[in-house]
Point group: C2
Chain length 196, copies 2
């Protein structure tokens, strides 16, 4: 007799579930929310639609589940020696994260109209991550003596996020290094009262 009372009690296979969620994220990235069909999800996950519908009630439900587990915890930004290089490093890291999330955000964005729940999930799990490092960077700059006092960090973060997403979603141009340097030197530095 097995001593573990954990009689496996074969529940819904979590492996399957993960495969399905991966397929959903894949399709969201590739074709967007509206054009993502359940048939195709099933095909990619090598599962049947019945298997899918046993778990979730419909497309919004599935996508909501897929958006969970996309929270990305960023490590604290490393001390590069100066505020300027700290900001460049932090922004560059954020660029890579946003670039990865970009297709999904784009897909889901248009679905907000149809399903407001999706919008909330997107904010909570995708958009609001990766901005905690700013406090650290600016606090470090104050102790270094580069800044006379802590700036209006939320405002700076607001500008940074807005610039990133605007560039990514609307301008159609890449989040490359020269652009990051431009943001830091021509926008953030002046905003902090430092020489451009």
């Amino acid at each position: 007799m097995p001593p573990s009372p954990a009689t496996p009690q074969y529940r819904l296979d979590p492996t399957r579930e993960q495969a399905i969620l991966d397929a959903i994220r894949e399709l969201l990235t590739e074709v967007g929310y509206d054009r993502m069909s359940i048939d195709e999800v099933a095909r990619r996950a090598k599962a049947s639609k019945a298997t899918i519908y046993r778990r979730w009630s419909g497309k919004p439900d599935m996508v909501a589940a897929a958006l969970h587990g996309m929270i990305t915890e960023l490590p604290d930004p490393p001390d590069t020696g100066s505020l300027r290089t700290d900001m460049i490093a932090t922004l560059t890291t954020l660029c890579r994260v946003y670039e990865r999330k970009h297709p999904i955000v784009l897909s889901v964005l248009s679905a907000i109209r149809t399903d407001p729940t999706i919008g909330r999930l997107m904010h909570d799990h995708i958009l609001d991550s990766g901005t905690a490092g700013a406090d650290i960077v600016f606090a470090r700059a104050v102790t270094r003596g580069e800044l006379p006092a802590l700036p209006d960090v939320p405002a700076v973060v607001e500008v940074g996020k807005a610039l990133l997403w605007h560039r990514l979603l609307l301008s159609g141009r890449p989040l490359d290094d020269p652009w990051v340097v431009h943001v830091v030197d021509d926008i953030l530095h002046p905003m902090l009262g430092l020489p451009g």
Copy 2:
């Protein structure tokens, strides 16, 4: 004797064309690009599908046509007496314009992946309008003596547009007056080297 080489050529009725384009814009606003069906366009425009397909080859073509004629020429910003109030007035005007365009931008955004042409049209006809007034406002501030020299206007415009679209598309919060004041006082003013 007819000097004109008899170009009889009845044209397609421009009235009908306008009704169809209006219906397209309506549906783009209401349900988005993907969920817009030609049948529904025909129904709303009180036209037959044949009439529509006689003019355009398919959905991308129609939407492209509908995006034309959405260019909005803004009047030069009025002189309100100070740079701060000028900026607030200009931004407020821009807010109203963007709010109107917002649903269509949202719809079309997700279609960029499918049809890059749409993306180009959106930039040319929707996004790049309404920023010419900035030059006037800042030039006026210089002659008033409020600014020592002309600032980096493109950078300021970049920040303004990014903040507006970010707020509108991603934050889900309204472009209301307090927010505009916050942008001017907490972000643009510091960026210009003025007291917040």
